[in-house]
């Protein structure tokens, strides 16, 4: 059984069909990339999976359970975590407190909770800033903090919306390595990214969207050769230099 299955999903805003009959499956313990030109419906799909938008039609299954109609927090409880395209952190809270918010942590005792938060701050290299207000962090640091918050929730499926945007190249490499490491530990990722080299390096499977439709799915190497993908990104008639 797939971890996540999206079936014939549709969503429109006014006259714009943002997601158009889109279907795909996400298998447990893999890293998937979701790419496509601007406005191709990637973030809308994230919002549909996490319950922030209500689909016009179609189904979403998580571990075989149909999750349409569940509220965002209920989907989080089931094991779906996400970050946002425009970074979202609790700005007036200290960095450490940001990590202590998720209700999932109620299961842990105070000491374990705190230790886990400190370990994650070390992981994203923000430990020295733990007592700063989140709003004082740079955009890239806030992005890393958001990544740490989602890891704190310990979800099975992690949706990352442009995780490398605003992050320096050295940290991008580290982040990609960390994602691969977490994948080995059993986490599953679906990543929206415009940084194609990072996607190709990290993701086993890449799903390509255009005008809300899935136009291709396969390994990075296959996708790079796919004419429909080249056309969507570069326009019809474009040549790719080998």
């Amino acid at each position: 059984m797939a971890l996540l299955e999206v079936k014939n999903l549709k969503k429109s805003f006014g006259g714009i069909q943002a997601v158009n009959d889109c279907s795909f499956k996400i298998e447990d313990g893999c890293i998937y990339g979701l790419i496509g030109p601007n406005g191709s419906g990637k973030t809308t799909i994230f919002n549909l999976i996490t319950g922030f938008y209500k689909e016009d039609s179609g189904d979403i299954f998580f571990r075989g359970e149909r999750i349409n109609g569940l509220k965002p927090y209920q989907r989080t409880e089931r094991g779906i975590g996400r970050t946002f395209q425009l970074v979202r952190v609790f700005r007036k809270m200290k960095v450490l407190d940001n990590l202590l918010v998720p209700p999932h942590l109620e299961k842990l005792d105070k000491e374990t909770r705190l230790q886990k938060a400190i370990d994650l701050l070390k992981f994203v290299e923000l430990e020295r800033l733990k007592d700063e207000l989140a709003e004082n962090l740079s955009f890239g640091q806030q992005r890393l903090l958001e990544f740490a918050i989602v890891l704190m929730q310990d979800p099975d499926l992690i949706l990352l919306d442009e995780p490398t945007s605003g992050v320096n190249p050295a940290l991008i490499k580290k982040m990609c390595d960390n994602i691969k490491q977490l994948c080995k530990e059993g986490k599953t990722f679906l990543i929206i990214e415009h940084n194609i080299p990072a996607i190709m390096d990290t993701c086993g499977t890449v799903i390509v969207l255009d005008y809300g439709r899935k136009i291709a799915e396969g390994s990075g190497a296959d996708i790079a050769k796919d004419e429909r993908v080249i056309e969507a990104y570069l326009g019809a008639g474009a040549e790719v230099h080998k």
Partner: protein, 333 residues
């Protein structure tokens, strides 16, 4: 024990405890009344602050909970002649349940902004009109509390206002303690997370509707206790005195000028605003009505521009300076 961080708060607390006794012997009952009102509005502002300051749901209809508390408690007392303290609990729980029932449709929208503020105003006005026109508790004629022998059990004191001061002061301390405990618990994280970013809060797994309703329940409970206290203090009230929009606005002002989303902000706000209101009312009598509101307006504008976080910021800075200088002098000695 000899540390300034111990003896300064202890001294302030002792002053607040003994000042009314001093005023009773050497001052005037009006000065005690002002102190009662300072604690009373600090109590109401602290109750409002839980929802408006910590959870970020700006209610401008808290007078509805205040009035319902006063009416339910008083009518229960008049009808069943049970202890006024038990009636106070009945009033508070009724107001809290009512608050949740109006909260369910109004907190569904994210952000707690203009929509929530407007809905709370509308509900408060509706409640006022219902009590006015359906003749509940005498309609516009109001409710007179029967005068009972002076005692703590009867919640009535005729020879001195001092016991009322100790009751409201005790209520305020208990309220601050309870809210402090709540904010230090997991709920505190959820409340502030909702205020900071409701979408993010939902995405990390917080049931935002549930926690907003919990905050509204607690806030309305305390606000209603304030309403019952007022009814017992003046022994008469009507829909105009317990449901006015001005009262709701005053709760917002006390918390905002003092420091929204801080534990002692509303206390600081009340210590500044309430004496202004009470003394201008007495000194100016019937002339210049509304002058206190003008002063509030000016204060609010100045504070929003200079210290948007509220006067508590200056109070904290001042306290730290005093603490440091006292610590330094202790070291030199």
């Amino acid at each position: 024990m000899s540390s300034p961080s111990f003896y300064i708060p202890t001294t302030i607390l002792a002053l607040l405890l003994f000042l009314p006794l001093f005023l009773w012997n050497f001052g005037s009952p009006f000065q005690i009344h002002v102190m009662i009102m300072v604690c009373f509005y600090a109590f109401l502002g602290t109750a409002w602050n839980l929802v408006g300051g910590y959870v970020g749901q700006v209610s401008i209809g808290h007078s509805a909970f205040y009035g319902i508390g006063a009416y339910v408690a008083t009518l229960a007392f008049l009808e069943y002649s049970i202890s006024p303290w038990l009636c106070m609990f009945l009033g508070a729980i009724s107001a809290a349940i009512f608050a949740v029932s109006i909260g369910v449709p109004s907190v569904r929208f994210r952000g707690g902004g203009a929509f929530f503020a407007l809905v709370t105003i509308a509900f408060a006005e509706t409640v006022r009109l219902v009590f006015l026109n359906l003749k509940i508790g005498g309609g516009a004629a109001g409710v007179w509390m029967p005068v009972l022998p002076e005692s703590f059990l009867n919640f009535q004191f005729h020879s001195s206002k001092v016991p009322y001061y100790y009751i409201i002061f005790g209520f305020l301390l208990a309220e601050i303690f309870i809210i402090h405990r709540i904010l230090k618990s997991r709920w505190g994280y959820y409340f502030v997370a909702i205020r900071e970013d409701e979408i993010k809060a939902e995405s990390v797994g917080i049931n935002t509707t549930k926690y907003k309703l919990i905050a509204i329940f607690i806030s309305a409970f305390f606000t209603a206790i304030g309403g019952v206290f007022y009814a017992q203090y003046v022994l008469y009230f009507d829909p105009f005195t317990v449901f006015p929009l001005e009262l709701s606005v005053y709760m917002v002002l006390v918390a905002t000028i003092g420091g929204r989303g801080t534990l002692l902000g509303p206390v600081v706000g009340s210590f500044i605003l309430t004496p202004i209101s009470e003394y201008t009312r007495v000194w100016l009598g019937g002339s210049f009505r509304g002058l206190s509101l003008t002063v509030y307006g000016i204060l609010l504008m100045v504070i929003v521009i200079i210290i948007p976080a509220g006067l508590i910021v200056w109070v904290k800075k001042g306290y730290r300076v005093i603490l440091d200088s006292l610590s330094q002098s202790t070291k030199h000695d």
